[in-house]
Amino acid sequence: MARIVGIDLGTTNSLVAYMKDGTPTVIPGRTGRTMVPSVVAMTDNGLIVGDPAKEHLTRSPERTVYSVKRFMGKGLADVQSELAYFPYTLTEKGGVIRIQLGEKTYSPPQISAMILKELKQRAEAHLGESITKAVITVPAYFNDSQRQATKDAGMIAGLEVLRIINEPTAASLAYGLQQRTQGTIAVYDLGGGTFDISILKLKDGIFEVLATNGDTHLGGDDFDRLLADVFIREIRERHSLDLTAYPDHMQAVRLEAERTKIRLSDELKTLATIELPDGKGAFTREVTRDQLEALAMALVERTLAPCRFALKDAGLTPAGIDEVVLVGGSTRMPLVRRRVQELFGKQPHCHLNPDEVVALGAAVQADILSGGTTDMLLLDVTPLSLGIETMGGVMSSLIRRNTTIPASAKELFTTYVDGQTGVDIHILQGERELTKDNRSLARFRLKVPPLPAGVPRIEVTFLIDANGILNVTAKDMRTGESQSIDVKPSYGLSDQEVERMIEDSFKFAAEDVGARKLIEARLDAGALITTTEKSLRDGSRLIAADVVSAIRAALSALNTAKDGSDPKAIRARMVELEQAAKPLSVAMVDESLKQALHGKKVTEVT
């Protein structure tokens, strides 16, 4: 069986991992970093992803997409309250959000697909083989539409998504494999944009999820936003400057808020600095951990209610939890750790890298699917109740939340009027009584043979598969014939749309490769320029003046090429610069050897 990789498609960062000789291992990129920032930028030379795209957040904020996971499986109305925070333009088509980048619009699955492709290429480069199959993680509390959108993203990226697996349960697999724990564990997963709590029973290699709960719109992003709001307010007061009119500076504020928050996990106070527009200097402000915690308190409290609900659904009290495992970058915050410890009455386990553990777990699940690991089995649950709309706009529950998946329910339908040829069915997900308070998943029309009222008997089977995704089938009980159902998703791309996006993604792949080569060449050129300039400063006195001017000429030629869009030209100028600078590096090596013989360093002499 072809290799299956595990992918953590995160709000802020994404990772890819695989099973290496029985040990899950994260695949690093060219620079050695394991995390790919989940950022996609549209540049004049095409789309770029990850670290280089992150630089565009402040340079071209209106064309740089971050936190796209927040929009997966959603309509515009769902995110209305936070639209003002995003510098890029969002529209909606067919119940799916579209993001405007240049002249084109992209659905969230398409943007996510670009991140997935980056990870796919990274894995292919590292493993030296083509990668076409993956396990992708999602927040446990993701609904059907959000899961389907993630699966679509995989398809658009050219990946067969063999399994959608919940992030906290993935973490538990990695944790369980490493620690060989038995007993009941709670996984508290606070990421960049989502929060999950899962309670599991670990016994003899079986990982049975007892209950899960969460909030798919609560994470590190929200902490950053609170802090950024303080900065913006104070800048307005102190400098009479409304930063909201400057999208690039808004991004700078957001990024500085994030860095400040991160620093305050280790330090008790830190200095935040933000460059102001129009030559108004810089805004600096000391932020203490206490101040951050006062801001963040309400958000952290919001994670505790889902924890209590999950405990209740699992039929447990905090004393019944043997271990608490922390997952997600936001659990580095001391306030989070403190509150979790207070709730469960025990010190949480945080020996695992909270950024990597989900991807590692996905790799373990991938290995289970490929038949490599046979002693471990994950029994997960559906996070939300599934039902259908009945008379009076009331939801009738068919599969309760926290039911082990795969799960199925059957419902018999008949007609109320003679000769009626169809029954409309509206599928819902959620815990509320009324249709309007729950999430609409899909609608379909059941075909019924024209018969007297009450005579037709159509049995509809609702099956939630191991991915937590709904499948619907129908059977006429009188004839025993199956009926194919065309389910129209309320918040998803149609099959045809996904097909078209897959085609598009192939079409643009060639352009993407070009853009990628250019970016890499520019990055490498930038590094070479920096080191050569440093060498010139330190060692120009060691070489002849004409050599120095030759180096300077080659430097400026490379700088020009770097601003152009031809990667080949950049590479050629780099070779020329390396040639020109050769006498300099030789001279510097000689010099340092000479100094070493005299027991002195170059810097001490000059």
């Binding site: 289970i368 039911t403 191991a466």
Partner: protein, 247 residues
Amino acid sequence: MPVPLEAVMDHTHTHNPSGRRELQMARSMCWHCSSEVTGEYFCERCVKVQPVSKDVDYFTCLGFPRRLSIDQQRLEAKFYEMSRAFHPDFFQGKTPEEQTISLANSALLNTAYRTLRDPIQRAEYLLDLEAGAVKEIRTTPPADLFEEILELQDTLEEYRSADRTSAAGQQLRTKLQDEQQTLERRKTDMETHLQRLFAEWDALQDRGEATDAARATRDKILKQMREILSNRTYVKNIVNDLVATIS
């Protein structure tokens, strides 16, 4: 050579007092290689997974007799064992037919386990199997609780329209909290009574008598169980409503 009748009987047997029970398969013939299936979950000849019959009851599915007291440890162990046999995770590289069977078997197994794991759901399910009718939903209070419930409804109504911070509101709240405790006690009493009936049912089944007297006892136990189960559900709903109002 004709298959001995006994062997066939054994295969479709659901009540087997000797202890170990074979899982009943949809067919005694393998869907894939058409040989007789002798293995528990898989065809021994072609090693293909076999579909669990849709008609099999949950007790049979998990290999337990139709009794109301179940050893939770053994039930869980059996559930894990069967999950390891059927879960779709282990069928990723298999044929689409096997994947479909694995999915359907797992879904059935999960439903069976969920139903039998909980004593109340288990009893309701058994009642459904033995007496046919589904559990009835009560809309009026049980006779012995009639007065009490009516008064409680009035108090709830009063509390909902009262100013909760006022002294009168506080007083109503205390009254409702007392009422909640009374009802919780009632529920516990009902559960104790149910436990007794469960034991009676199991004892009767173990004796396995086919006399008229035994049948009458059986019907009496089932009738009482149905009555208490529906009263308990009613009280539970009232308590939930009460808790939602005062919390």
